[in-house]
């Protein structure tokens, strides 16, 4: 009611700020409490129609449940008229809310229907619930903003670890990976065909390495020292084949120090190797 009274200004006033309910509106109502040049800044403070509505309600110091609909509707519409006049970009939501308020106001003027006929929810009840829910969220958002938080109130206590010597783990291999890689090698070898991988049993190849390793630590060994009784016949065969293969590949020498003496085995060029190692040690 106040607003309409305010809007009755002397005729001939050149500038019409807004049309409220069909009446020309020449000055910003006093109860808006905003100087016109601050309006834009002020409106940016609102997070939408619910926020604006809440502001209007709270300014009257009334409970949401008892919204003075007529009064609030007037004020709300006055606001958005002013906004429109200042050519501010107005989100559609503000206009939807204006329409809703107008509808609620008109309903309240009509005699109330019986509840049986009233299937829709009362738009006023819906609005009140939405306002309440929004207000709860708004309040809690403000509280969250005040909570201590990282970067502003909380800082991690950091301790240097760059000086620590830390061992990095080594890569793992699965046997299948290695065998698949080997399969590729074998395929390539087949294609090249001039090269052959001899197919001694693996145990023979392994034993060849073992025998060579034994010989590294000794000038020579007795032939018999390369066989182990506990390995049985099969072990003897493996060792014998390994010795023959090593000999064939000229990796070992088999010799007799004198006629009828027991056979001895030594790494090929063992003497040379001994000289070399003493040389490198020096």
């Amino acid at each position: 009611m106040n607003m309409q009274e305010n809007s009755v200004t002397p005729p001939g006033e050149p500038q019409v700020l807004a049309m409220v309910n069909g009446a020309p509106f020449h000055q910003i109502p006093d109860d808006l409490y905003i100087p016109p040049d601050a309006l834009e800044v002020f409106l940016e403070l609102f997070e939408g129609p619910l926020d604006l509505l809440l502001y209007l309600i709270r300014r009257q110091n009334v409970d949401i449940i008892n919204i003075p609909i007529a009064q609030i509707t007037h004020q709300y519409i006055a606001y958005i008229q002013v906004m429109g006049n200042l050519k501010m970009e107005l989100a559609a939501e503000y206009l939807v809310m204006a329409a809703l308020l107008a509808e609620i106001k008109s309903r309240m003027l009509l005699p109330r229907q019986t509840e049986a006929e009233d299937e829709e929810e009362d738009p006023r009840a819906t609005l009140i619930r939405r306002l309440q829910e929004y207000e709860c969220i708004k309040n809690v958002a403000e509280e969250i903003d005040l909570m201590p938080r990282f970067e502003r109130d909380i800082f991690a206590a950091l301790v240097d670890v760059s000086k620590l010597s830390i061992e990095q783990p080594l890569p793992d291999i699965q046997m299948k990976e290695m065998l698949l890689a080997f399969q590729d090698v074998l395929k390539r070898v087949d294609q090249l065909s001039h090269h052959h991988i001899t197919k001694e049993p693996l145990s023979v190849r392994e034993r060849m390495s073992t025998i060579l390793a034994y010989l590294e630590g000794a000038d020579s060994l007795l032939f018999s020292q390369l066989f182990y009784r506990k390995e049985g016949r099969q072990g003897v065969v493996v060792s014998f084949l390994a010795i023959l293969e090593l000999s064939k590949e000229r990796l070992i020498d088999i010799f007799q120090s004198e006629p009828f003496a027991e056979l001895r085995v030594r790494a090929a060029g063992a003497t040379f190797g001994a000289i070399e190692s003493s040389y490198s040690a020096a």
Partner: protein, 226 residues
């Protein structure tokens, strides 16, 4: 008695050693560590029991009570941090100003925190305005929210929920530590009354007492502590 004391001594030493290691791990980690994660840092054959690590953590918290840093439990575990009351001093170490967040972002975040899982449409319904994509984007990038599922509705919109990182950032270990959300008042009866009094409304309202604020309901708590 004389024989048993070396044993006790030994046990104490072991626990002290665990405590030292736990403390070193928590300082070195540079991220919150759960008890499980702490245990996993120990070599397999030397892993302490959960209770031993928990005891160590309790003892460490006590040790630092009077110091300017504290061992704090947040959602992703325990972390050492400077106590908030020293923020005024420590903040000056960093030239960059801490980020400020708009009301729109904070309200969106609050709705997701208290109403999760929630769609963007539902957030817009509560706020009464559309939610800009950049707000959702910012929240996703900060890893404060994530899409937890999709709603069985046209377009299968994403349902948003908050993350542990969100709780970590706000220095809490569970949603239940967030400020209490006032429950929406039961207004149906009040409304009926006021509707009956339409014609006289708005004159006496200044004198109506404010409604008592009620804490969040138990159903809300359940959602909150997920």
């Amino acid at each position: 008695m004389a024989q048993s004391s070396p044993v006790i001594q030994l046990l104490d030493d072991v626990n002290m050693e665990i405590k030292r290691i736990v403390e070193a791990i928590l300082f070195a980690a540079n991220r919150p560590m759960t008890v499980k994660q702490i245990i996993d840092v120990f070599p397999e054959i030397e892993r302490p029991e959960t209770i031993e690590v928990q005891d160590a953590i309790e003892a460490i918290i006590e040790d630092y009570r009077e110091r300017p840093i504290e061992l704090k439990k947040v959602a992703s575990g325990y972390r050492f941090q400077v106590k908030p009351e020293l923020a005024r001093w420590v903040g000056r170490l960093f030239e960059e100003k801490p980020p400020r967040y708009s009301r729109a972002l904070l309200e969106t975040l609050a709705i997701i925190a208290y109403r999760q899982p929630v769609t963007r449409g539902e957030i817009e319904d509560i706020r009464g305005v559309s939610v800009s994509s950049s707000i959702i984007q910012t929240l996703l990038e900060r890893e404060w929210i994530k899409v937890v599922a999709h709603k069985e509705a046209p377009g299968r919109p994403g349902l948003y929920g908050t993350t542990k990182q969100f709780l970590d950032y706000f220095n809490i270990s569970s949603l239940s530590e967030l400020p209490t959300l006032q429950e929406i008042q039961d207004f149906d009866s009040a409304l009926d009354n006021s509707l009956n009094l339409i014609q006289e409304e708005s004159e006496q309202q200044e004198t109506t007492p404010p409604h008592p604020t009620r804490p969040i309901g138990s159903t809300h708590n359940e959602t909150a502590t997920v």
